[in-house]
Symmetry: C2
Subunit: 382 residues, 2 copies
Amino acid sequence: MNNFTFYNPTKLIFGKDTIPTIAKEIPAGKKVLITFGGGSVKQNGVYTQVTEALKNHEIHEFWGIEPNPSVETLRQAIALGKEKKCDFVLAVGGGSVIDGSKLIAAAIPYDGDAWELVMKRDYSQGHTLPLASVLTLPATGSEMNAGAVISNKTTKEKFAIYTKTPVFSVLDPQTTYTLPEFQVSCGLADTFVHVMEQYLTTNGQSPLMDRWAEGILTTIMEIAPKIKQDQNDFDNMATFMLSATMALNGFISMGVTQDWATHMIGHELTALHGLTHAHTLTIVLPGTMWVLKDQKQEKILQYGQRVLGIDIDDKDLAIKMTIEKTESFFRSLGFKTKLSENNITQSTIAEIEKRFIQRGVRLGENRNVDGPVAREILEKVM
Amino acid sequence: MNNFTFYNPTKLIFGKDTIPTIAKEIPAGKKVLITFGGGSVKQNGVYTQVTEALKNHEIHEFWGIEPNPSVETLRQAIALGKEKKCDFVLAVGGGSVIDGSKLIAAAIPYDGDAWELVMKRDYSQGHTLPLASVLTLPATGSEMNAGAVISNKTTKEKFAIYTKTPVFSVLDPQTTYTLPEFQVSCGLADTFVHVMEQYLTTNGQSPLMDRWAEGILTTIMEIAPKIKQDQNDFDNMATFMLSATMALNGFISMGVTQDWATHMIGHELTALHGLTHAHTLTIVLPGTMWVLKDQKQEKILQYGQRVLGIDIDDKDLAIKMTIEKTESFFRSLGFKTKLSENNITQSTIAEIEKRFIQRGVRLGENRNVDGPVAREILEKVM
């Protein structure tokens, strides 16, 4: 096991009808900037619950944080927060709203421009306003981690920054009942691949973390078809919501190496073709598994056996079945897992290879996924 | 799934040679009361590492916190801390030292007597000094939870209190190499039963928490024989240490009911016969499983199948095999799992039944373990 430091002080308030607790969790007298995405929280009743709970607080609303939140949009929220002297930020929405609000909470008390903070990349020791969240879309884990991904439309850049974890996050699974089916599929796939990035690496680093990662993978595979059948089952949606949070809050990465090559290659597909993030992951992961099947052999076999129940002696066949079954799972969620099905051609692969070479990118737990390997991975899923 | 609130702000600093990090984790200028148990930390080098790391801090040492820490002993440490105006407490040792230090950290800034704090039971909102720990004995989870069990020799009482989690805890698995074999067995058994108290209850509350609990149980069963063979294997001792912390820090109890009847009955065996805590658990748990096998049927079968690999259709036989295999595991750790083997007779069972009836005790996830049921449980393991 590798040395590690674990620290996650987010208070998780989970369950039915928990949104009203924000009234006492946010100290009296705070001037609260509430941040939203589009209008879905007005349809599903979350907006009413939040504003009703905070009727004795001074609140200011900012609407319109978009998917892949841009610094251009966030600057407007920051200006509002500065003008109204807000000293608390409450994000209400999914991962994009929470990510964007992490930058807002850091930039309101900061004198310079918000993009300067993004370029620092690690702002975990910086001064920020307290941030909390009411989560409505299980997927990114942003409600219980310190990361945020922020885009710059002007410079066409997109970077991850590390700041503070939310002081508290409220997760009421009932808020997920009205999510579009595609967003639920994305959340399930995103959760699954988050776990894989922390699990499908070097073998034998932590038997306990392996079990916990496999526990999330197994659970997601068990509940996915049930959720497809009935998106209003409280227990299944609660399990989905809890799994998504636990997939990226540090609980399964203690003492183990991580990969993230699939994510980084996927980001390029989003940048070049606008494919939804989770969709890119379902395309790239099987390719990563195929190309790195020797390096990851023991872990792929372990995953196949313990999660998928593939228990045969022929290792090559077991690996083949394991990768195919993983891809089938993604297809069962409704994703088209081949590049060609999404009208992505060789020229895109060439462009990604070129970008990686230019940037000197070396990804994965062994830092051996460079431009040419990324090409191999993408060609495998053509 | 039940509603829950999860909050665990302890910073976990885990791995090889991590003790020196306390130098920067404890703010400069703090007057540190360092608390110890017996002298084992002088033999294994931990004492030297701690005092070397804190050579630029003002430190005051208190020695002699005993197993099942008593308020009588702790009052002496509290007096020292008050006299020296200490404003930080560092516990160096196992669960008893950390438990005792939780009361010390609460009582130094308190004007009344320490036992008053114990009688409050919930002091989580009270003012305490910051407490940190250097753990040397994996077992209780006290290094990452808010609980402490404190005894009063004068009144012959023993109560759990809830205060604050440590601000940080340092876990270097190398500190466990020199532990007596019996203490390692106790730590393994204690960890195992902590998980069972949170797992072997109502079925179907959280599929994810089930998997994580089973993950710890499986891991403990896998590493126990390896540790018996070689107590100096870093990875196995690291897995043991991590498992013990994760078994009782709230990570596997989200949204599920808990039992703890085995622990409470076990406490009586310790009180009446001086049996070591973990030893009592290995005696009582099989009895609890036998007597409550109908109520816990689905969970026992799931545990038998997933953790022990017992996969047969005959439910009665599967339950029998599951309980027997659990008991065999405890015996493999060196515990005598029958009351008669420990010279405990019917008169003790009668005394425990009487005490439970007098106190109106009703334990377990369904609050149906009262005096007569405790008698049944103990008679089953005579």
